[in-house]
């Protein structure tokens, strides 16, 4: 029983990371209507920046804070300079543009920092929390709390502030938003900035477990894509819940179904999601698309 609980707890820790990248994907999707294939690579790049800052002597939390701010600026710049010129193209073209970004980030990181793995200092305390006989690492608890806090902040931003209202309006009806004076361009940049910041956060949280190298985020990106889909692409809360669920499922499957093993867990997790999607084609929390004929 205890083993089960512990597996669930560590699954929640992994899931929280999927949730944070999924949140970044959903932010971009909600502001630009595309999936950003480069989201994971952007997060990796931000993590390298944090690592480099830490290497030159800046304390780890300071380095992370600077990296997040730089990433947000970078995200906004990327939207303005690379994505904006493609605004009126079909979505598939923009997805291929993000593939180009994916390759560029991956290769530039490899050229600067090399493909050997670096260990990333864990910003969270290393101890173990014991409640009775139930044990969970502080890192897991910390990861979950940080991701939840970020989610709540985003929720408040989107639902309770004028900026959030403007962001929702700009996606829902760009033309009318422009007519009522919303700077839709700025709003889009803000969406990318938030997503890049969120990605940076997930990168530094996952790096201590995965080791830092240019390809570290690819697997995470696929899980996060799955989480965003399971949650429903228009629901940030759904993405978080689905991310955590996915982490738990993955952990339990790897532990209790030996036939699956570590290799096939990803296939198993995706298969589960497909089953859910077949019953609910718009994800767990997504709203149904209504088309006018």
């Amino acid at each position: 029983m205890n083993q089960l609980l512990e597996q669930i707890a560590s699954g929640i820790g992994t899931g929280a990371i999927y949730a944070s990248v999924a949140l970044a994907l959903v932010l971009v999707f909600r502001s630009t209507g595309i999936i950003n294939l480069a989201q994971g690579e952007m997060a990796m790049f931000s993590t390298f920046i944090a690592w480099q800052l830490n290497q030159v002597g800046i304390p780890i939390w300071g380095a992370i804070a600077i990296a997040i701010v730089l990433s947000m600026a970078g995200g906004a710049a990327l939207e303005r300079l690379v994505i904006r010129p493609f605004r009126n193209r079909d979505e598939l073209s923009i997805v291929i543009v993000t593939l180009g970004l994916f390759l560029v980030f991956n290769s530039v990181a490899g050229a600067i920092w090399g493909y050997t793995i670096h260990s990333f200092p864990n910003p969270l305390p290393g101890g173990v929390l014991e409640i009775g006989s139930f044990r969970v690492t502080l890192a897991t608890v910390g990861t979950l709390l940080i991701v939840l806090a970020a989610t709540v902040l985003l929720f408040v931003l989107f639902q309770r502030t004028k900026i959030g209202l403007a962001m929702r309006a700009a996606v829902d009806n760009p033309l009318s938003s422009k007519l009522v004076g919303i700077p839709t361009g700025l709003v889009l940049s803000l969406g990318w900035a938030l997503a890049a910041g969120m990605g940076a956060l997930s990168g530094v949280l996952v790096a201590p477990q995965l080791f830092l190298e240019p390809n570290m985020m690819f697997g995470v990106l696929i899980y996060s894509f799955a989480a965003a889909t399971l949650g429903g692409w228009d629901s940030p809360l759904g993405a978080v819940i689905a991310g955590v669920l996915l982490g738990v499922c993955q952990n339990l499957a790897a532990t209790y179904i030996p036939a699956i093993g570590s290799d096939l867990t990803i296939a198993f997790a995706l298969g589960l999601i497909l089953l859910v999607l077949l019953v609910r084609p718009t994800g767990l929390f997504g709203s149904k698309e209504v088309t006018r004929v």
Partner: protein, 356 residues
């Protein structure tokens, strides 16, 4: 320069188009006499890849259904062919029938759940296939050779061919690619082309016109899977080897890149896309091995920026400077005002009819 652009009637344009296609095929046939063995090998690989991109384009460009998982079908076709030729001792050509049936069947099976899924949700479903491919191949080691892959010994007829091994392979793949291109252009013209175009643009309208949308979508998935599977089989014929690392997730994404770079919904675009996604990474690595990804990525960005609609749009735009197709029946060739150019593509008049 005042003679340009030339104005021709649609009938004349069709004849010219046939001539152009024939000229390209003739160049294709002559290539083995002009290229070195290695370049010929590259050409065979590009043609094999083009068959897969054609298949994906049928689904994505013409059908409007996204797939991030066509690498799975390439793996399925390649491995089916390789296993049949080694373990079961089949010859290459009969194995093609098995490949077509199995990968087409798999496409059909994928088509059923795909009926319920749309856009990103379908993208995930297909991505799941692509992600599962490599672990599954590693798991069933007895059948697939695990990480080592399968080496396919060359058949006697191939090594003893009077044309030479590489030229023979090239001609086989070339003929297959021509047949695939012909097949796709047949599917997307006439009644089936109309039905597919209507399903893509508006399913509700399609249904109100008595088009069985579910049937057309599953048929598209089946054809698309079949072509991608065959692409895998021809790749195995060319390389003589298949391993899990060559059919990873990135293959599926590159296939999609090939479709978009070449031109969505274009047969000739599939060939251009295949050339680009096959050669560009190599060229980038030649320029700078350390930054090859950066160069490749930047080139993708540049191509997408400069050529909305892919390479095919660019070619079409250049052609329009020289040649304008005039719908001669409706208005006489005007001497002063420019007449509306009419596309030579066969689907176009059909879609107009539906809209009107």
């Amino acid at each position: 320069m005042s003679a340009l652009p030339l104005r021709v009637s649609p009938a004349r344009a069709r004849v010219l188009q046939r001539f152009a296609v024939a000229a390209v095929i003739l160049v294709g046939l002559a290539l083995p006499f002009m290229l070195t063995k290695f370049t010929l090998f590259q050409a065979s690989l590009i043609l094999a890849l083009a068959i897969g991109i054609l298949g994906l384009n049928l689904l994505v460009g013409y059908g409007g259904q996204v797939s991030l998982g066509h690498g799975f079908f390439i793996a399925l076709g390649g491995y089916t062919s390789a296993i049949l030729m080694t373990t079961a001792g089949w010859d290459f050509f009969p194995s093609l029938i098995a490949v077509a049936v199995i990968s087409g069947g798999a496409g059909l099976l994928l088509g059923f759940p795909a009926l319920r899924l749309r856009g990103l949700y379908l993208a995930l479903a297909t991505l799941a296939l692509a992600v599962s491919t490599v672990p599954v191949l590693r798991r069933f080691e007895e059948l697939t050779g695990g990480v080592q892959g399968i080496r396919v010994p060359r058949a006697a007829w191939l090594t003893e061919s009077p044309l030479g091994r590489d030229a023979t392979i090239y001609y086989i793949v070339l003929i297959a690619a021509i047949l695939a291109a012909w097949f796709v252009s047949r599917v997307v013209s006439g009644y089936s082309g109309l039905a597919i175009a209507t399903v893509k643009s508006n399913e509700i309208v399609a249904r109100s016109q008595g088009i069985n949308t579910a049937r057309w979508k599953t048929v598209l998935f089946a054809f698309s899977g079949m072509l991608a599977g065959l692409s895998g089989a021809f790749t195995v014929l060319t390389v003589g080897f298949i391993a899990p690392e060559s059919v990873g997730v990135m293959l599926s994404i590159y296939l999609l890149a090939g479709v978009v770079i070449g031109g969505l919904g274009s047969v000739s675009g599939a060939f251009i896309g295949a050339i680009v996604v096959h050669l560009l990474p190599q060229l980038a690595a030649d320029v700078s091995p350390g930054l090859s990804g950066t160069i490749f990525g930047a080139a993708i960005l540049l191509i997408m920026f400069l050529m909305p609609g892919g390479f095919v749009e660019l070619v079409k735009r250049l052609f329009r400077r020289v040649l304008v197709v005039d719908a001669g029946r409706t208005r006489p060739p005007s001497t002063d005002g420019p007449a509306t150019p009419v596309e030579t593509q066969t689907v176009e008049p059909g879609t107009e009819k539906v809209a009107g």
